[in-house]
């Protein structure tokens, strides 16, 4: 093997290491950063359809991490979310596993909904949950409609069976697409 070839292999290995799978990392320690919750701006003409804000980098980080999602699953039960929203089917609160999002279905919007509460009964969890926990919950909530990457979802909780496993659902993302150009101008 030529030395050049070796160097190339080494570079490849290093690259593989760098791109190591973050989505498995048990990153339990939130970055001690000031609370900067996303505040998606509601558009003027379509109050139900929020304008898209610039994507928060944490959205992808939490949504693509199976550990964070499983923490969200734990919180979903322990914080009594399941009491209103069942296991996605809804009850007192709206269904989370269907294709309708009253207040937007993006990570940022779900976090904002958890944080601020919503007028028809969704309580505000600000000060009751930490920001990290809200992100974890949002990631789990999106997994109820099988939206994050399939390889991040887990098939079922250790709980009474209630739904077909998320990993088998083929539901597509349901956030209404925004008209082109809104992203930069609506601020």
């Amino acid at each position: 093997m030529s030395s050049r070839c070796r160097a190339r292999l080494a570079a490849l290995a290093a690259l593989a290491l760098l791109s190591a799978c973050d989505r498995e990392e048990r990153q339990s320690r939130a970055q001690p950063v000031p609370e900067t919750l996303p505040t998606p701006r509601q558009s003027i003409l379509q109050p139900g359809v929020p304008a898209r804000t610039a994507a928060d980098p944490r959205a992808r980080a939490y949504e693509n991490n199976s550990y964070q999602m499983s923490q969200g699953q734990l919180l979903y039960q322990k914080m009594n979310c399941s009491g209103c929203h069942a296991h996605g089917g809804g009850g007192m609160g709206p269904a989370l596993s269907d294709a309708e999002w009253r207040y937007g279905g993006s990570m940022e919007e779900i976090v904002a909904t958890i944080d601020q509460g919503r007028p028809n009964g969704m309580p505000s969890w600000r000060g009751k949950l930490t920001e990290q926990q809200m992100w974890q919950l949002a990631a789990y909530v999106r997994s109820l409609s099988a939206q994050p990457r399939q390889d991040v979802l887990s098939s079922r909780p250790d709980a009474p069976s209630s739904t077909e496993p998320a990993t088998l659902q083929s539901r597509q993302p349901v956030v209404p697409s925004s008209p082109a150009g809104v992203q930069g101008t609506s601020r």
Partner: protein
């Protein structure tokens, strides 16, 4: 028919060897390396790979001992530590211990049986590749920080979809599937080889004890591996498609996992230990210069161990709250395993009394084996007792116990066996001086490292903790254990240096340098691709110690790969059988299988889609090449 060349008076010596070599030698170069089906190539490859994993597993243990040397150490994070100890256990059990025992048998058994190749040689090649891909899957996963982290025993529900999110456990479970396919294939090959490929005259009661050990081991593998394959299949189904096998809410049960897992994993200990007793028997025989006494008792002990090992799995579950009555049965059964083991120990010692021991390095390993393994065996008797086990279970006492059993009982004999058969593998004798130095370092280091663990366990230190508080009385003992591991590593390095230095020397070993009695020593060192120019004939249990030249039979084809099948019990010549040529398809099949298994971690559809390439590969594998050459052709 006249065109067929056969060995015999007319065709012997150098000409025969040259023609046999042309027939049996794998294709040259990389292609030959990929396509070979020679049991010696595969066996050597298997051994190298397994030993590599021994080294990797040992590196992990060094990491763990560094972390545990001091209390509340922050060297390794808990998440990483859990991966490391999981990888250590998994690597040692699934990627090192079982494969290396099978690997040694793949290399030695056909030679010992006096035949030219193993039964189902293509399956053998396939088995190696499958094992390799499974092992790579696990280790690449670990390097990419997707290593499993729920323990090598993967207790549900910790390993289930809720508490082990992500792909870590899936990778572990599919690695099990790979090694299970590989292990079962080898077990079937070895069983068939031992039962049908023995040299004429080697009736069952003339079979070397090592062959008996491998026969029983193979049958145990066949009976026990399905259990782990089944439960890891259930686990991955729970994790990927949402079955409910281990979900207590839906009336699955975490204990179902434990039953199935230990139904495999307890016999597995004996699957590792029995071949080692075979090594010990062969070494004792050679280095005392006489057969091991009470051959029937030895054989019965091996068979009884295999049999009893299936009745003891529940002693891993004494703390789970199963009915008490069952516990007493399993206590008795576990104690009973000590009886065949004690018979073997007695016979070896009596053989030493009756023979003339030579203190070569392999024999030293046997002595170390007895000194350490008996400790492990006796502490095993302790943990068989329910009241004692309820105190020892999952403490460092158990860690000490099974390292005494597995390192003392299997790794020491293995190192002895490697030294013993090294001239056969390589044609060179290992240096005795370095060998003995390595032996003493490893032996002393092992005891320094693991004996204190008995005490740390008795002092209440649980297993599988990434750290422990200070002032529990555990600090000094842990430090001592860590130092011991350092000594073992030193010994291991000397051993490796010995191998490396020896391999640089020219080949110098005679066919039978130790003056051993079994057939593998009748072949050249290293053996040619066809092993034996003529079919050796056996007249006693120690054929090479018989007077006069080696009796042989002739008449096998020389121009095509052919070997002799004998009857299962008396080893009377029965059939001349074609042995397959080298081919690439086992490798391609293994690649297709790997794609299917690995893909299935990410989507169940991989099973469906992956079947097509796998089917094509298998078809090409089994489809006969060229025109029929074997006689007779039916018209």
């Amino acid at each position: 028919m006249t065109g067929i060349a056969r060995d015999g008076e007319a065709l012997k010596g150098a000409e025969l060897e040259g023609r046999l070599d042309r027939t049996w030698r794998p294709a040259p170069g990389l292609w030959g390396w990929l396509t070979t089906v020679d049991h010696k190539d595969i066996g050597r490859r298997y051994i190298y790979t397994a030993m590599t994993f021994l080294i990797l597993g040992s590196i992990l243990s060094v990491a763990m001992r560094l972390q545990l040397a001091r209390p509340e150490s922050g060297l390794i994070s808990p998440a990483r530590y859990n991966q490391i100890f999981t990888m250590h256990g998994t690597t040692m059990m699934f990627l090192f211990a079982v494969p290396v025992m099978e690997a040694a048998a793949i290399y030695v058994i056909p030679l010992m049986m006096g035949t030219r190749n193993i039964a189902f040689p293509r399956l053998n090649a396939f088995s190696y590749w499958t094992y390799l891909f499974g092992a790579l899957l696990l280790w690449v996963g670990f390097v990419l920080n997707v290593g499993p982290d729920a323990g090598w025993f993967m207790y549900t529900p910790l390993s289930g979809p809720q508490f082990s999110p992500g792909k870590r456990t899936d990778i572990w479970a599919q690695m099990i599937t790979f090694t299970e396919v590989a292990g079962l294939a080898v077990a079937i090959e070895l069983t068939a080889t031992i039962l049908k490929f023995r040299a004429p005259g080697m009736s069952l009661n003339r079979m070397p004890l090592y062959a008996w050990a491998i026969l029983v081991t193979s049958i145990m593998i066949i009976l026990s591996l399905p259990a782990v394959a089944l439960c890891s299949g259930m686990l991955i189904a729970d994790r990927l498609i949402g079955t409910q096998f281990f979900n207590p809410f839906e009336h699955g049960d975490p204990l179902l996992w434990q039953h199935l897992f230990w139904f495999f994993a307890h016999p597995e200990v004996y699957i590792i230990f029995l071949p080692a007793t075979g090594f010990v028997s062969q070494i004792v025989e050679t280095f005392t210069g006489r057969p091991v006494i009470a051959y029937p008792a030895m054989v019965l002990a091996v068979v009884a161990t295999g049999f009893l090992s299936f009745g003891v799995w529940v002693h891993h579950m004494f703390a789970t709250g199963l009915p008490r009555l069952g516990y007493d049965f399993y206590t008795a059964a576990t104690m009973a395993v000590a009886i065949p083991a004690s018979i073997q120990i007695f016979c070896w010692i009596a053989t030493m009394w009756l023979g003339k021991p030579r203190y070569a390095t392999p024999f030293l390993y046997v002595i170390a084996f007895i000194v350490t393994f008996v400790i492990g065996g006796l502490s095993g008797v302790m943990v068989a007792s329910v009241p004692l086990d309820l105190q020892f279970h999952d403490t460092y006492f158990v860690v000490a116990h099974f390292h005494y059993v597995l390192v003392g009982g299997a790794v020491f004999p293995l190192l002895g066996a490697l030294t013993y058969w090294f001239p056969k593998f390589s044609g060179r004798m290992l240096s005795e001086g370095l060998g003995k130095l390595a032996f003493w370092l490893i032996f002393l280091g092992f005891n320094i490292a693991f004996f204190p663990m008995h005490i740390t366990g008795m002092l209440g230190m649980p297993r599988r903790v990434y750290t422990y508080p200070a002032n529990m009385g555990w600090d000094g003992l842990n430090m001592l254990s860590s130092i011991g591991v350092g000594v073992i590593v030193l010994g291991g390095l000397v051993f490796l240096a010995n191998v490396a230095l020896t391999l640089r020397r020219p080949r110098d070993a005679a066919p039978n340098p130790w003056n051993a009695a079994s057939l593998e020593w009748a072949a050249a060192s290293p053996p040619p691709p066809y092993n034996f120019p003529h079919v050796p004939v056996v007249r006693s249990a120690t054929p090479l110690w018989e007077q006069g030249p080696l009796p042989v039979m002739t008449g096998l084809r020389v121009d095509d790969r052919e070997l002799l099948i004998t009857t299962a019990i008396d080893a009377r010549p029965d059939i001349r059988y074609p042995s397959p040529e080298g081919t690439i398809w086992p490798l391609l099949s293994a690649i297709a299988l790997a794609a299917l298994f690995i893909g299935s971690i990410f989507t169940p559809w991989a099973v469906v889609i992956g079947l097509a390439p796998l089917g094509v590969a298998f078809l090409a594998w089994f489809w006969p090449k060229g025109s029929p050459t074997a006689e007779p052709v039916i018209e």
